[in-house]
């Protein structure tokens, strides 16, 4: 039971469709001359102030800092555009962008099928599935720091789990090997976030009208056919929502990688946010780090807008139109 679900059930055709719906509601209410009844705008001010001060203004400040040379101690010194070409032509930046892209793509390819299938699986009515689901969601309550520390211990080549299993190929230096660490990190991201996306898909599957499956059964469609012809098309907006969160999440992924590797350069997993942190808080090149921060914002916004343009948030209700 979630909010948007309630919104859908309540049948207000204007709800849950983003900013346009405010106006939609307005025109409808326009029939009733009740203008004076509306509360004054000042009540939005506290939320707006917090949001502007601690989320919007920092973006402006990041842009400003990207035009300065700043060592985190003395005052920032204006250098104009100098940082931008330096950072953008730095092979380290290109490498971190490439790594981030790899993490985003492979994470999506790994997490989406697993989350989707687990979402369908846990949406089933069987009692054992409910019990399994309760355990599946456990990683959600662990902090990133806790997860990273646990996996660091598990993966230790000398006294980790592999040493006790007795399978020699498991005894790798998982975190020290530059070729392996990318896949180790992607596995841990999946371990941490598949439960979240499973929840999203579970909610989506439960919204699919049972009548569709009944009709398919009468037509003799088997389980696989039902999955391909009903479940997948019905979940298309859920897939977009989940993918948006997944892709932007992978781009900005920081905590686990930082704790696993100590955030040092040369760990083989300097994805964009790690690169930014290291440049800023280890090398004290805050100006250049701010350029990376702006890159993070720009790429994140483009990815989010591009994916939601495909559907997503604005069309949450419309997938059942015509039923």
């Amino acid at each position: 039971m979630t909010i948007t679900e309630r919104v859908g059930v309540a049948g207000d055709r204007h709800t849950g469709r983003g900013p346009g719906s405010v106006r939609g509601g307005g025109t409808r209410q326009g029939a009733v001359p009740r203008r004076k009844a509306g509360p004054s705008g000042w009540m939005v001010a506290p939320a707006l102030t917090f949001f502007l001060t601690f989320a919007i203004i920092p973006l402006v400040v990041a842009l400003y800092l990207s035009f300065t040379k700043w060592d985190a101690i003395s005052d920032p010194e204006w250098v104009g555009l100098a940082n931008w070409p330096t950072v953008l032509s730095d092979p380290a930046t290109l490498h971190s962008l490439w790594l981030s892209l790899k993490v985003i793509v492979i994470s999506w390819l790994v997490q989406t099928p697993i989350s989707l299938l687990l979402g369908v699986f846990t949406a089933g009515k069987q009692r054992y599935r409910g019990v399994l689901a309760a355990i599946f969601f456990l990683p959600l309550i662990l902090s990133s720091a806790a997860i990273a520390i646990a996996f660091k211990a598990i993966l230790d080549p000398n006294f980790g789990l592999a040493a006790s299993v007795g399978l020699p190929f498991l005894k790798q230096d998982w975190l020290g090997n530059q070729d392996l660490i990318l896949y180790v990190v992607i596995f841990i991201i999946a371990w941490q976030f598949v439960p979240f996306h499973t929840l999203i898909y579970q909610g989506g599957v439960r919204q699919i009208p049972a009548s569709l499956y009944e009709a398919a059964e009468i037509d003799g469609a088997g389980r696989v056919a039902q999955f391909i012809h009903i479940t997948l098309p019905q979940l298309r907006y859920t897939i977009i929502t989940s993918s948006t969160l997944m892709v932007v999440g992978s781009l900005t992924y920081f905590d686990v990688v930082f704790v696993l590797t100590g955030g040092v350069p040369g760990s083989g997993i300097n994805i964009l946010p790690i690169d930014m942190y290291v440049k800023g808080f280890s090398a004290y090149q805050m100006g250049e780090a701010s350029v990376l921060a702006m890159l993070l914002v720009i790429i994140g916004l483009l990815l989010a807008l591009g994916l939601t343009r495909l559907g997503g948030f604005n069309k949450m209700n419309s997938q059942q139109e015509g039923l």
Binding site: A150, S211, F281
Partner: protein, 303 residues
């Protein structure tokens, strides 16, 4: 669901008596619906193993004696479990970090929910240009990556003299929690029948009175959902504490895990005992109110 399924069964069963090809297909379909999904079950149990193994490892290792740790088999529970490592963690200022975590979580969530309810109320009930523009801005805010703001926040909060204070953790946490909270509460409050608002107005209730005695009580489920979602985010947050605080007195639990790891070094059981202890409060909540917690975890994303 079960009722509608039964309804669907009726024609299928009827079709079985007629021995033509169509009905045989129907009978097969009926069996497909009821046959246990072996493959799905196997997949489910495989994932169970992937999820449970690390958690099992954390728990059994946290009670493993440190002597002989490196030579013991990590897969088996220790023959002589001990709580010594827990005692060690509890003596290492654990309660201070716990108190810090509780404080920043409670303050952040209470302030976020309170200012967001006010904002959502206005967004639903007022159509001025200012309010509409604010709402669009909040929606845009959903896409701002928190990671990109740590350098400017470090700069701004240092300038304001707030570096290394708990306020430095609370303020940006509120700022970043507001957009989604407002969005979810707005969607919810929009469903409150307009007649209720109108009758409040007829009764001469002020906006404030309407908010407190109508909006807040009626949107309680949504408030609980966003409250849980935000609380988990703040409780488990790592980056803000890492960048915006420094001294041990201001340390919160996730950051303390990281520093424990440095302090206890090779004492793996102690580090994992700290992991267990830091998760325990939320685990208790999970056991007590799983349904609410789980629906709060995806906030508005699940539908």
């Amino acid at each position: 669901m079960s009722r509608t399924l039964k309804r669907a069964d009726a024609p299928v069963r009827a079709g079985r008596s007629a021995p033509d090809g169509r009905s045989r297909r129907r009978a097969r379909a009926r069996r497909a619906g009821q046959r246990p999904n072996v493959l799905g079950g196997l997949g489910g149990f495989l994932w169970l193993a992937i999820i449970i193994l690390p958690i099992y490892y954390i728990v059994i290792t946290s009670v493993r004696p440190q002597e002989g740790f490196f030579s013991s088999n990590q897969l088996l529970p220790p023959g002589d479990p001990t709580l010594d490592q827990y005692a060690l963690v509890l003596q290492s200022d654990f309660f201070l970090y716990l108190a810090n975590s509780v404080l920043i979580t409670v303050v952040s969530v209470v302030v976020t929910v309170f200012v967001s309810v006010m904002a959502a109320f206005v967004i639903v009930r007022s159509q001025t240009r200012f309010v509409r523009a604010s709402f669009s801005l909040f929606l845009l805010g959903l896409a701002i990556p928190l990671q990109a703001t740590i350098i400017p926040l470090f700069y701004m909060l240092s300038k304001a003299g707030l570096y290394d204070t708990l306020a430095a953790l609370i303020l940006p946490s509120i700022g970043f929690a507001i957009p989604l909270t407002v969005l979810i509460l707005t969607n919810f409050i929009r469903d409150i029948p307009k007649e209720l608002f109108e009758s409040m107005t007829v009764d001469g209730a002020s906006n404030w009175k309407t908010l407190v005695s109508l909006v807040i009580p009626l949107s309680r489920p949504a408030i609980v959902t966003v409250g849980i979602y935000n609380a988990l985010n703040v409780w488990n947050g790592f980056l803000f504490p890492l960048v915006l605080t420094q001294s041990p007195e201001k340390r919160v639990l996730p950051l303390s895990l990281w520093t424990f790891q440095g302090e206890f070094n090779v004492n793996v059981p102690a580090v994992l005992a700290a992991v267990v202890l830091s998760t325990l409060p939320i685990f208790v909540l999970y056991v007590l109110g799983r349904r609410q917690l789980v629906s709060g975890m995806t906030a508005g994303f699940s539908k």
